[in-house]
Amino acid sequence: MNCGKYQSQCNDYLDGDLSLREREKLKQHLKECLPCYRKWSSLQKTQEILHQLPTLDPPEHLGAVVMARLKNRRLRQPLWFSANLPRWLPLGVGAALLFLISVVLWEVMPSQYPWQSLFPSSRKNVATTTRPAEPSKETVTIRKGDPSSSAPVMVLRVKDFSRADQELQSMLRSFIRPPLPERESSRSPHTRSARLFQLQVPGKRLPHLLRELHKIGHLDQSQVESQELANPGQQKQVSIRIVVVSNGSDVEIRQLREGR
């Protein structure tokens, strides 16, 4: 005899959810089982009592009090509800903003964390041109600073562009610790270091400078983006922000910005 099942069916019987056959079976069981009958009887009576409970009338002043309290209240103005816009709109806008912020942060952040090398940069690959170096008397200003700060800590001014290359070489070497190894050196993630250089060079000198950087810094996979590279003949000044990361044998240019 499954009393648990019949006791559950008592509730279904009260709700009118039992078929005729189930009802007959339940009635038969209640005739034979006294504990179940007692439970059924008290359950039925409880229901009767609950149904007999009087319905109360609310106080007459209730409406007036609520309206008085509402006098100085305004309706809430959820924009997406009033304009019948979808409910997910705020969530979507939030997600889009978050994505935008992360893209901006990704672009701005220097590549100094090992995990960043796992994800390829979204910047365009522009091949460094291999135009021959032109001797020049133009001024090249080289600033070097900390990657976390945009303030330059040193400015080098040289008259001769060919000397500027040397200056840059020695400066790069001095900045990369441990000193820039040869190509054959083994990689070690513990020797990574990142440095920021800000260079102001005439636009047409840029390919040459990059070629020099390539020589000294193993810039085989450097990713450089600049309009000046597409128009190397232009004479306007460009400001390049370069983060050099050394992890034993790799040096990459992380960022390059155009300035006026």
Partner: protein, 207 residues
Amino acid sequence: MGTESLAQHSSSVKRQEEQLLVDRCRRGDRDSFAQLMRLHEKQIYNFTYRMLGSEGEAEDLTQDIFIAAFRGIRSFRGEAKFSTWLYRIALNQARNRIKYLSRRKYFARQARRADHGASAVSESPEGLADSAPTPEQWTMTKDLAAQVQECLNQIPPQARQILVLRDLQGFSYDELSEMLSLRPGTVKSRLHRARAAMRECLSGKLE
């Protein structure tokens, strides 16, 4: 036209009228809100009374429910019935109020007061102990209504709300499922447990 279809027609007209009032409310028409309130205040007041067991508390809570409904009326998109939406607010507000009152030992105080009343009665010559009716003889008296309310106060709030909504206010399982955001099966099993708790409490008090 049969009686059933006539009833269906009248309920659809009622719902359209209600929707019209809601639309006006959404534009800030307070008179329409007053009309809506008149339509639902009795049901909501009775719900809050059964949840809290005191007329004063029920009145305060009913006021808060309607104020919250007025302020949030623009979030009602007409996907569910207005009463379902209103009851969702009522359930949330009642839950919060019960938590607040429980922290202040409100229900414990009420139970003590009820016990005092009961013992005072049983000490009288015509005390309840001797004249306590059997379940078959239970009839609704003022005292019995108080005992039932005491039992409602004693069972957990979750069970109380489902019992009041189904057995006192007559909502269907589907409506309850929508109001409580639960599956109909869950509503059913919770209701069965609530009825069992209520039955035990009433049997203990009255037998």
